[in-house]
């Protein structure tokens, strides 16, 4: 070959080499772009999913917290209302207790009441010999009605006789003082079997307690309608 041909061949080869290199470089660039997109997308999707879950969990917890708080609030307010109901009803009992003391002040009616209470206790005990205890201030009245009470009991119970021993040493506590502190008794009697084992508390205070318990559902219904235990 002559010089010109050699030189032409060389130039061709140089061109070829460069061309190949540039094609290769192009391939690399194209694959770079593809990989860039795939890589970026994969990372973004994976991370976004994690973040989404994280925030969904947070929002759910927020919701739960809200509901718990509200339900606690609701309970607290229901309790308040129930407590108020309770207090109000108790207040009525207290008001009644205060008025109990005045019953023994009207001697005429109280005298009759005492007799009836004694008879009732006798009928409940059905003992032939009983112990009677009353307030010191009521002793006179008790003795005043004792025979009437005995006779009424004997007739109603169909027994021959009954023995009532009035305790002259130990008395029921006196009526409430102005402050209502300490033990007090608003009236009535306590009867017991001779051996002291069976007791019938027919004091005004005990009776109020019993009546109150019995009437409580009715009172609550009247005041609070259907709601209320």
């Amino acid at each position: 070959m002559n010089d010109a041909e050699i030189s032409k061949q060389v130039q061709q080869m140089v061109r070829f080499i460069k061309q190949e290199a540039e094609e290769k470089a192009n391939e690399i660039a194209v694959s770079a772009e593809e990989e860039f997109n795939i890589e970026k997308l994969q990372i973004v999707e994976a991370e976004k999913r994690k973040i989404k879950q994280e925030y969904e969990r947070k929002e759910k917890q927020l919701d739960i917290r809200k509901r718990i708080d509200y339900s606690m609030q609701l309970n607290a307010s229901r309790l308040k209302v129930l407590q108020t109901q309770d207090d109000l009803v108790q207040g009525m009992k207290n008001a009644a207790e205060q008025q109990l003391a005045t019953i023994s002040e009207s001697h005429h009616e109280y005298r009759v009441l005492l007799k009836e209470l004694i008879v009732q206790a006798l009928l409940r005990l059905k003992e032939s010999s009983v112990l009677l205890r009353c307030r010191e201030s009521d002793v006179d009245l008790v003795f005043n009605v004792l025979d009437d009470a005995k006779n009424e009991y004997i007739e109603k119970a169909g027994v021959e006789h009954v023995q009532i021993h009035v305790d002259n040493h130990k008395f029921l506590p006196p009526g409430p003082d102005s402050e209502g502190h300490g033990q007090f008794c608003s009236g009535g009697v306590v009867l017991a079997s001779k051996d002291g084992r069976i007791v019938c508390e027919n004091t005004l205070d005990a009776r109020l307690g019993v009546v109150f318990k019995q009437k409580l559902p009715e009172i609550r219904r009247r005041l609070f309608g259907g709601s209320g235990a």
Partner: protein, 108 residues
């Protein structure tokens, strides 16, 4: 002979250039891939910021309206209590009278 050498020089130079071209392309590729990580992170950070902002908004909204709900409940409860007290004071004398009546009536 010189001309032969010249040709070979040219070929070698072309080879070298070719290597450089390819090397540059490879470098660009790995830079591009690094960029992928960076851009991805940026997008992810934006997304996180957006979710965070939404969450904060929800947080403040809910505390706002639960605060007012609590207040309403308080007011309702107070009303209920006041009504109860009123009812009770109306009915109390009756109830007391009833209780006392039962205490003082004895059926023998």
């Amino acid at each position: 002979m010189e001309k032969g050498q010249g040709g070979i020089q040219m070929l070698l130079a072309a080879e070298q250039e070719a290597q450089q071209i390819i090397a540059a392309a490879r470098a660009a590729k790995s830079a591009r891939l690094k960029q992928a990580k960076e851009e991805a992170e940026k997008e992810v950070a934006e997304y996180r910021a957006q979710r965070e902002a939404e969450f904060k908004k929800k947080l403040s909204e809910s505390s706002g309206d639960s605060g007012s709900r609590v207040q309403r409940l308080e007011v309702e409860t107070q009303e209920k209590i006041e009504n109860l007290k009123e009812e009770a004071s109306k009915v109390s004398p009756e109830v007391v009278e009833l209780l006392l009546k039962y205490v003082t009536s004895v059926k023998n």
